[in-house]
């Protein structure tokens, strides 16, 4: 009960936030919620299943282009485009997973990084269709759902919140389900899990596909809500960002990805207002985190004070 109250409470607070935040901060919160969905997906693979991937930019970009290209080329509207984007993210994760999950640990990290790099270069190579590095802006028709114009503040905020709320609650239900416990079991000790009758390959593949569905949803939503799809979202930077969000907020905690995305966003916002060398401050903050709270913020809180946190 306490767990559901906390998570539903957060959704209510976020809903209310649009009424007291300025349009600027409200738009930023919409960005944070979409990026948090990306990080929640990463958390399912890394935080709960122990799959340290450096290829999630590929799944995010698959979602972005999976939604953006049909919208650009065939005039597909926002709803179907979003679904196509989610499926593209999941499909890409399944394809990568079938091959990359033959490896583990550092090898898995390198193989996923290579797949992501191949995806990035493919976007550049097929520039005639994808727009290459320049990318393309999404047409107005692709930015409207059920008559709501997603390029305006309130509908965009509500769309981001809806996606975030669904992602959060599904994530919570999943990790508390028997399958979620299988994921954690494999993270903790793969050999012992196998002896208990679990098939680690299947569990990891399903976890990676779920993670890809989240990344695809986030990529598609980011494209639709902010009107642009481009190859920069497929660069390694976008594989590292969800990892940082998760590490900062707390790997293997449900709210960690949101907290990490929000704090990182705020850190850049505040630091860039203080100095032009703001990336130095961001780096220093992350080093401090690794030194003093290696489990991330919520991971540390759970360890010391609130063991009930999922």
């Amino acid at each position: 009960m306490k767990v559901w109250t906390l998570h539903l409470g957060l959704i209510v607070v976020l809903f209310a936030a649009q009424f007291w935040l300025s349009p600027y901060h409200s738009t930023n919160l919409a960005r944070i919620m979409v990026l948090a969905v990306f990080a929640m997906g990463y958390n399912l693979a890394f935080g709960y299943t122990g799959l340290l991937s450096l290829g999630h930019a590929l799944f995010f970009a698959a979602g972005m282009y999976g939604a953006g290209l049909p919208a650009q080329l065939w005039g597909v509207t926002a709803g179907p485009a979003l679904i196509l984007g989610i499926l593209a993210g999941g499909g890409m994760a399944a394809a990568v997973g079938l091959l990359a999950l033959r490896t583990a640990g550092v090898s898995f990290m390198i193989v996923t990084l290579m797949f992501a790099q191949a995806g990035y270069l493919a976007i550049l190579y097929f520039a005639a269709v994808t727009g290459g590095d320049e990318g393309f802006t999404l047409p107005a028709a692709a930015r409207s759902i059920a008559g709501l114009d997603l390029s305006s503040d309130t509908p965009r905020f509500l769309a981001a919140l809806t996606l975030f709320a669904v992602g959060l609650l599904v994530s919570l239900a999943l990790v508390r389900s028997p399958f979620g416990r299988s994921m954690v079991a494999i993270r903790e000790n793969e050999e012992r899990s196998r002896m208990l009758g679990l098939n680690p390959f299947t569990v990891k593949l399903v976890a990676l596909v779920l993670s890809g569905l989240y990344a695809g949803a986030a990529g598609a939503a980011y494209g639709i809500l902010f009107g642009y799809a481009g190859a920069s979202f497929a660069t390694i930077q976008y594989s590292i960002l969800p990892m940082l969000y998760v590490l900062l907020g707390g790997a293997g905690t449900i709210l960690g990805p949101f907290l990490g995305a929000a704090l990182m966003f705020a850190l850049i916002e505040v630091a860039s207002g203080v100095t032009s060398a703001y990336l130095f401050l961001v780096g220093a903050a992350l080093v401090a985190l690794v030194l003093f709270a290696p489990r991330g913020i919520l991971g540390t809180i759970r360890e010391r004070w609130a063991k009930w946190l999922p």
């Binding site: 300025s22 590095d133 990318g135 703001y278 990336l279």
Partner: protein, 425 residues
């Protein structure tokens, strides 16, 4: 004698204070507003792949700001520029447009160079209905890809630049051309527009060598250059430009080589006298604005260089090794003066006049040579939101770039691909 204090004022004092208060209240509201500065948000590539350009864009914009404020500001109001790093990233770029407009209260946003940042940020500028003046030279504005709020009034676009070069290359250097270009959109613009124009001139592009953007060494690409090549056309951008030209020199050594024509992008912020670049002697470059001050430079060239802090060789006056991005940075200077002209013409008083400001910009056409436009006279096309000017071809002579040809505006002309004025705000 009556003793008065702040707590016990005289009746006369009270009356005077009250009268002064009434007078102040009776003043028109806009008197106070006029004294408030005009805020210009500058989306700056301070970090990321565009950092070498960003550094000089900031210096040039600061110099233009000082010149404008020393001249009385815009419509009598002082001007401020707020610089914000976009990390040369489209996602951050969009956030920066948001921050500058909504959080910092800027009247307009300007300054973006790299095309992907422009394209990623333009939708947000349109949503916020804020004029977005880019200094990018990309064809994205004139192609019709963007929106009514995005304009490029300070630098000719790459399509026009390339078109203006091709006839001179065909007539003076050769007709069988091999192109080496980065395998992304900027390079593809060169590939497509130059190949088409060269065919029109009776020439032929016999090989197109696209180099992936992740490449850090280029030696394996040079053997692909066909032996019958008469002209090698190269354009490269980013941190690897020096490696590129050095390795090209190593490839040819002291042996025979084709005529070499490059876009100065391959050497922006790089000293042509760098050891290893001796092979560039006698080769040609496109320059928008001549890095080395030409002997017949216009009357405003010296003042512009002094204001920006650049010597006659195009390097910083305080550090001869700090070579400027001279062929691009003038765009920030000229954009600021264009903005001043449009704001004064439209009677701009605040953000509620932004639409009127864009309409005033669209109405501008002739932009004569002057201190406002040190690169040269220009024509602004209000329908395509793109400005057009002359281009230069320079030859490396004695290690320095010397202008040998200047194009006309007609050389770079092409049919309009869009009419933004028919689009809604």
């Amino acid at each position: 004698m009556t003793k008065t204090t702040l707590l016990h004022p005289t009746r006369r004092g009270l009356l005077m204070a009250g009268g002064a208060g009434l007078l102040t209240a009776a003043l028109p509201g806009h008197v106070g507003a006029q004294a408030a500065p005009i805020k210009i948000g500058f989306q700056l590539h301070r970090t990321g792949i565009g950092a070498s350009y960003g550094r000089w864009y900031e210096r040039t914009a600061q110099a233009a700001l000082k010149a404008i404020n020393d001249g009385g500001g815009i419509a009598g109001r002082p001007v401020e520029i707020l610089f914000e790093d976009d990390a040369t990233d489209p996602k951050r770029g969009s956030e920066v447009v948001d921050k500058l407009t909504q959080s910092d209260g800027c009247d307009v946003v300007m300054g973006t160079l790299f095309s992907h940042v422009v394209i990623g940020s333009a939708p947000r500028a349109a949503e916020l209905k804020v004029p977005y003046l880019v200094c990018s030279e990309g064809y994205h504005v004139a192609s019709g890809m963007l929106n009514r709020w995005t304009l490029q009034p300070g630098i000719t676009d790459v399509r026009s630049q390339i078109q203006a070069m091709a006839p001179w290359i065909a007539a003076n250097l050769g007709k069988k051309v091999t192109m080496v270009f980065p395998d992304f959109a900027f390079g593809h613009d060169h590939r497509d527009f130059f190949t088409a124009k060269m065919a029109e001139m009776g020439g032929e592009v016999i090989a197109q060598i696209a180099i992936p953007p992740t490449e850090t060494s280029f030696t394996r690409y040079f053997p692909q250059i066909p032996a019958e090549t008469e002209v090698l056309y190269h354009v490269m951008v980013g941190p690897a430009v020096l490696t590129f030209v050095k390795e090209l020199g190593e490839f040819y050594g002291t042996g025979a080589k084709p005529q070499i024509f490059g876009f100065i992008d391959s050497l922006e912020a790089v000293d042509t006298a760098t050891p290893g670049l001796e092979f560039l002697e006698g080769t040609h470059f496109w320059e928008a604005h001549n890095r080395v001050k030409p002997a017949d430079a216009g009357e405003h060239e010296a003042a512009y260089r002094a204001a920006v802090g650049v010597d006659d060789n195009g390097a910083s006056v305080s550090d001869a090794a700090d070579v400027s991005t001279y062929s691009h940075m003038f765009s920030t200077w000229e954009t600021l003066f264009f903005l001043k002209q449009a704001m004064e013409a439209s009677g701009y008083s605040g953000p509620t006049d932004r639409q009127k400001l864009v309409e005033a910009m669209e109405a501008i056409s002739d932009l004569p040579y002057g201190v406002e436009r040190p690169q040269g006279a220009k024509v602004f096309n209000g329908k395509t939101h793109q400005v057009f000017g002359t281009q230069n071809i320079s030859q490396v002579q004695g290690g320095k770039l010397v202008r040998v040809h200047q194009t006309t505006m007609e050389d770079g002309a092409y049919a309009d691909a869009v009419d933004y004025t028919t689009m809604s705000f």
